[in-house]
Every structure is written in structure tokens, then in C-alpha cells.
Amino acid sequence: MAELTRADVAHLAALARIELSDHELETMVGELGIILESVATVQNAPIADVEPMSHPMPLVNVTRPDVRRPSLTAQQALAGAPEQDQQRFSVPRILEQD
């Protein structure tokens, strides 16, 4: 398996919206590398005769008819929102300032 690079970690951090200092980045390259190595042992499992599986049950076509069911009220839906405004979920700004 290819070695984890500093650039890989920086990219992952950006995707996860985690800000890492240079020092943390350095540390993470080493630590994540060790974790990946450990996990990589699964690749030694004898799977030549095993079909890939995403679902444990051999079920297909579980559907429901196109019939309406009651929704929550807006009040119920917003009950757990940390912030709300105009009956909408209020979220922090989405893009960084240009």
C-alpha cells in the first residue's frame, strides 16, 4: 500500500473541515499511517472465493406504494434545531469569505 503523505492528510483534513497546524499535520501523517497499516491486515484475508457483500440479507425490491403519510409539523421538525429563523433551520455561513 502506498505511503500516506502530508498532502493526503491535508486533503482529508480539508474534506472533513478540520483545521490542522503544521505540527498536527506532521503528527497525523505518522499516526494515521500506523492505523492504516493495522487495518491493512484485513487485506491478507483469504477472499478469493468470497463474493463482495454490501447487505447481510439476500433481499431485493423492498418498496412502498406512492401514498402520502403524515409529516411532522414544522414546530416538531425544528424542535431540535440549535438555531432557527423564519421557520427554517439557521446554519453558519457555507462558504469561506472570498
Binding site: L59, T63, S71, L72, F89
Partner: protein, 506 residues
């Protein structure tokens, strides 16, 4: 904060002298199902914010999605109408990303196993030629919530302090239809892009799977475009312009991106692979975020939904429900109605095909149906920013009124200009054609004595014109017919008056 700056562009023709555009279109269609893709919330546009949501579409812990069978049916029918193969087994996948428009933190989509793949759609162009658009895939997914950005200029995301999200739309079934890269389009690229979207819209409408209203967002188009030097076969770096939401904008966006990318390449620059925003008002695109790689979305099979495995029998049963393709139907109706190409095109562009078909079916002549539906009412619809079928429905006028009006003309009660006056009254809500004609006292003079007396008076009053007609200038009769009309307050039968004048002056 910086405002998006206008970038340099090369004129379209100059750009095409050096580069070949490669086009790819992604069209998202909201299905017209009663309920959402994975839950029983109503799938309708608008409504009170966050009142069409439930634990499933809000992604609350423990909620489990179940696939809407009608959405699968629609997806398969769309695939079949595009001559795609239908997967005998496919799964949903989670597309993970950080953006609050999906409360689950992922969108349930399909990734490497679309329900339909490998089709095509033939697109007729203005010059009568056909361009075949190859379809890569059509897959099922769900729509996202609607964000409004607060604190920035004109609701734009740039400069916003926070955003407000309404999840009513989150989870509405979407089908995404993706073309293969289209090459060889050259200067026709903008026209082909537009014609493809228009043809697809007609097809989806005929299938009855969506209301395909681009202005309301139930059909949306993303335009992928790259340039390669003329003669090259290696694609350049592409940009993806998001949410180009009218046919005209599709054409303009392609044209703009060709010019913008050409200016960069011609100056020795390189194209950044990115998402771009289309600005309807200024007709330009501006840089959005850098395009993520598919890896960045960490797609993986959705564990909460079991695979979809349509049987061959089911697929064939759905194939039998496909409507006549719109292009074939138009050709058939044009031949049946005897319209010229230009007449048919106008009728199609004015969305009158269905209405005329119904009107002819109700007993009107094809010429009459076209005449009445594309005259006064079309002007009114245009003024109101609507279309004829919508306007006609709102004022309660339909095929029956046209049939009745036409029978008043063929039955000899009204002449053409009287019929126009009656039609105006009908459109103004004054009643049926007969009611309007009665109320306005419109009735051709049936009394031959009155007509003859008027003709005699007019001949007497215009001896010089009368002499010309006696000398063989039959076209001079027009002036006398006009006078007769005036005498009888417009209620004379012009043909009868003409006949009488010529007989008297033979």
C-alpha cells in the same frame, strides 16, 4: 470581500476557429410522484417551510428509508424511452459531503450501478438535420433542501453571514440523466445543447413522469464543457456550470464558456476544473468551488436500502406503456392536419399541439383550430407571461367553444370579422360563442331584399366605380363591397354582396 470579476472572452466564431467544444449535459428531473423518494412526505413544490418533512428525510437517528415504487417505475420508463438498458440489479449509494442542504450529511444516490445506462436521444435541429446524443446513464437520487443565504448581496452565497434551510424539497425523487461527451458539434454546440434539453423535456412530459418546469426548478441542467485544439482528440479540462435553468440559458451558457475558455487557452493559460455558477441576469459564469473528485464523496453502498432488481417481465410491461415519441407524434399530426413546417413549428413552440389535437377531435377543422388558438388568445397569453393552454383553462375556454364558433361561421350566421369579435367576447368571459353573438346582436343579414337594396344604393352612389366593373375590372368590386358592409353595419355576407354586385354590373 471581492465581487466576481468579469473574465475575458473571445468572440464565439474566433474561439471556434481554433478549438472544438466537447459538451456534456446533466439534467436533473424532479419526478411528479405523490411522495418523496424514501418516505411518505408530500413531494410538492413550495408550501409552508419545513412542514413536509419527517424523521427519514430529516435524517434523524434510527429512521429507515424505503424506496417509492412509483419512482422506480418512472426511472425505468425514462430509461426505456431513452433506449437505455435497464439494470437487472442495482444499489443505492451514499454520497457524503459537507453542506447543510442534506440534513443526513449525505445524499442517497446511485453511483456505479445506475438503473439505466447506454441509451441515446435523437435531436432535431433547426436545419432539419438530426444529432444523436448518446446517453451515458440515468440514475435515481433525491433532491436537496433549499437554502437561502442571509446577509449577502441579493441572496447570493458569497458574503452571506448565515443560511436558512427549508427541507421540504429534501428527498423529492430525482432522476439524473447524463450524456456521454458530445463531440463534433462545432458551432452548433449551443443549438445542440438547447435542442437536447428541449427534446428531453418533451419526452419526459409525454411520459407523464414530471411537470418539467424549468422555471420552477423541476427540471435543471448542468453544462459540462471543455475545449480541445482543432484536430485533437484529447479532451481538455472541463468546467461544470450549475443550474442553467431555461432553454435560452443553456444556449447562452455554452456560448459563454466556449468564449471564456478559449480566451484562457489562447493566452497560454490552463482551465481549472471547477464548478461554475450561471448568472441569468448578466449572462456570464463565475467560479464556484473546485470540483471534488468522486473519491472525495466517499461513495459506498447504502446499507439501509436493499438492491433494486427489476424483473425482465416488469421491464417489458413498462415498455408497453411508453407513449408515441414526441417527434414521431408531431410528424404524424402535421401530415394529418396539413400544416406547413413553419405552421407546425409555431404550433409546437406555442405548446398548442395537445389543444389543437383535442379541438380537431371535437369536430373543428385543423385550420380553424390553429387559427383560433394562435390568434388573439396567444397574444393575451404572451402579454400575461403564460401560455395558451394555461390561459384557456383559467378562463374556461376549450375545444367546444372553437367548434361552436366555427359552426357559426360555416352555418352562415357569422362572417370572419364578426367571428373575431365573438371570439374576443368569449375570451373576455361573456359566454359561449352563441351567447356572445346574441348579446352583441351579431348576425349576418340573411334578408336578401335588404342586401339587394344596399347594393343598389351603393352602385347608384358610386357611378364611376360601377362603370369600371362594367368595363371588366372585377377587382374594383372590393370598394363597393366595403360600402355595402358599411351600409349594413358590418353584418353583410361579403361573398354574397360580391356576387350580387358582379351580377348587377355584368
Amino acid at each position: 470581500m471581492s465581487r466576481p470579476t468579469t473574465e475575458a472572452t473571445l468572440p464565439f466564431e474566433v474561439a471556434l476557429a481554433s478549438y472544438d467544444p466537447v459538451l456534456g449535459l446533466e439534467v436533473h428531473v424532479e419526478l411528479g410522484t405523490q411522495t418523496k423518494m424514501f418516505c411518505g412526505c408530500a413531494a410538492v413544490f413550495g408550501g409552508e417551510p419545513n412542514a413536509q418533512v419527517c424523521p427519514v428525510c430529516l435524517g434523524l437517528p434510527g429512521a429507515l428509508p424505503v424506496v417509492n415504487e412509483k419512482a422506480v417505475e418512472s426511472a425505468i420508463r425514462i430509461g426505456l424511452a431513452l433506449d437505455c438498458q435497464i439494470a437487472s440489479w442495482c444499489r443505492f449509494a451514499r454520497k457524503n459531503y459537507f453542506y447543510p442542504d442534506m440534513p443526513k450529511n449525505f445524499q442517497t444516490s446511485q453511483y456505479d450501478e445506475p438503473i439505466a445506462f447506454g441509451g441515446h436521444l435523437d435531436v432535431e435541429l433547426e436545419d432539419g438535420s438530426t444529432y444523436r446524443v448518446e446517453i451515458e446513464r440515468a440514475h435515481m437520487e433525491e433532491d436537496t433542501g433549499k437554502s437561502s443565504h442571509v446577509g449577502g448581496a441579493t441572496g447570493r452565497i458569497h458574503g452571506a453571514t448565515h443560511s436558512l434551510v427549508d427541507y421540504n424539497r429534501a428527498g423529492i425523487p430525482l432522476i439524473e440523466i447524463v450524456t456521454k461527451p458530445m463531440t463534433g458539434a462545432g458551432e452548433r454546440a449551443p443549438e445542440i445543447a438547447r435542442a437536447y434539453v428541449a427534446t428531453l423535456r418533451d419526452l419526459l412530459k409525454a411520459l407523464g413522469v414530471s411537470d418539467v418546469k424549468m422555471e420552477q426548478g423541476s427540471m435543471r441542467c448542468d453544462v459540462n464543457l471543455s475545449l480541445m485544439p482543432k484536430g485533437s482528440t484529447t479532451f481538455g479540462t472541463r468546467t461544470e456550470t450549475k443550474n442553467v435553468n431555461s432553454l435560452r440559458s443553456v444556449e447562452r451558457a455554452v456560448r459563454y464558456e466556449v468564449g471564456r475558455q478559449a480566451a484562457i487557452l489562447a493566452a497560454g493559460g490552463t482551465i481549472t476544473q471547477e464548478t461554475r455558477h450561471w448568472h441569468e441576469d448578466t449572462g456570464v459564469t463565475t467560479s464556484g468551488r473546485e470540483k471534488s473528485d468522486a473519491d472525495d464523496y466517499r461513495y459506498f453502498p447504502e446499507p439501509d436500502l436493499v438492491p433494486v432488481a427489476p424483473s425482465a417481465e416488469y421491464v417489458e410491461a413498462l415498455r408497453a406503456t411508453l407513449p408515441e415519441p414526441p417527434a414521431a407524434r408531431r410528424r404524424r399530426l402535421q401530415a394529418q392536419w396539413g400544416y406547413s413546417d413553419l405552421e407546425m413549428r409555431d404550433v409546437v413552440n406555442a405548446a398548442l399541439v395537445d389543444l389543437i389535437e383535442q379541438t380537431v377531435g371535437a369536430g373543428a377543422s385543423a385550420a380553424g383550430a390553429r387559427k383560433w388558438w394562435s390568434g388573439e388568445i396567444a397574444r393575451r397569453a404572451n402579454d400575461a407571461g403564460s401560455d395558451v393552454p394555461t390561459l384557456a383553462a383559467s378562463i374556461g375556454v376549450g375545444p367546444a367553444e372553437v367548434v361552436e364558433l366555427e359552426s357559426l361561421v360555416t352555418g352562415g350566421r357569422l362572417n370572419d370579422s364578426m367571428a373575431r369579435a365573438v371570439w374576443e367576447g368569449v375570451l373576455a368571459g361573456e359566454g359561449t360563442p352563441t351567447v356572445v353573438a346574441d348579446a352583441r346582436g351579431l348576425q349576418l343579414v340573411q334578408d336578401s331584399g335588404a342586401l339587394e337594396a344596399a347594393v343598389d344604393r351603393v352602385i347608384e352612389a358610386n357611378p364611376e366605380v360601377a362603370q369600371k366593373i362594367r368595363d371588366g375590372k372585377a377587382q374594383a368590386a372590393g370598394a363597393l363591397i366595403g360600402q355595402v358592409m358599411k351600409e349594413l353595419k358590418g353584418q353583410a355576407d361579403a361573398a354574397a354582396a360580391r356576387e350580387l354586385i358582379l351580377a348587377k354590373l355584368a
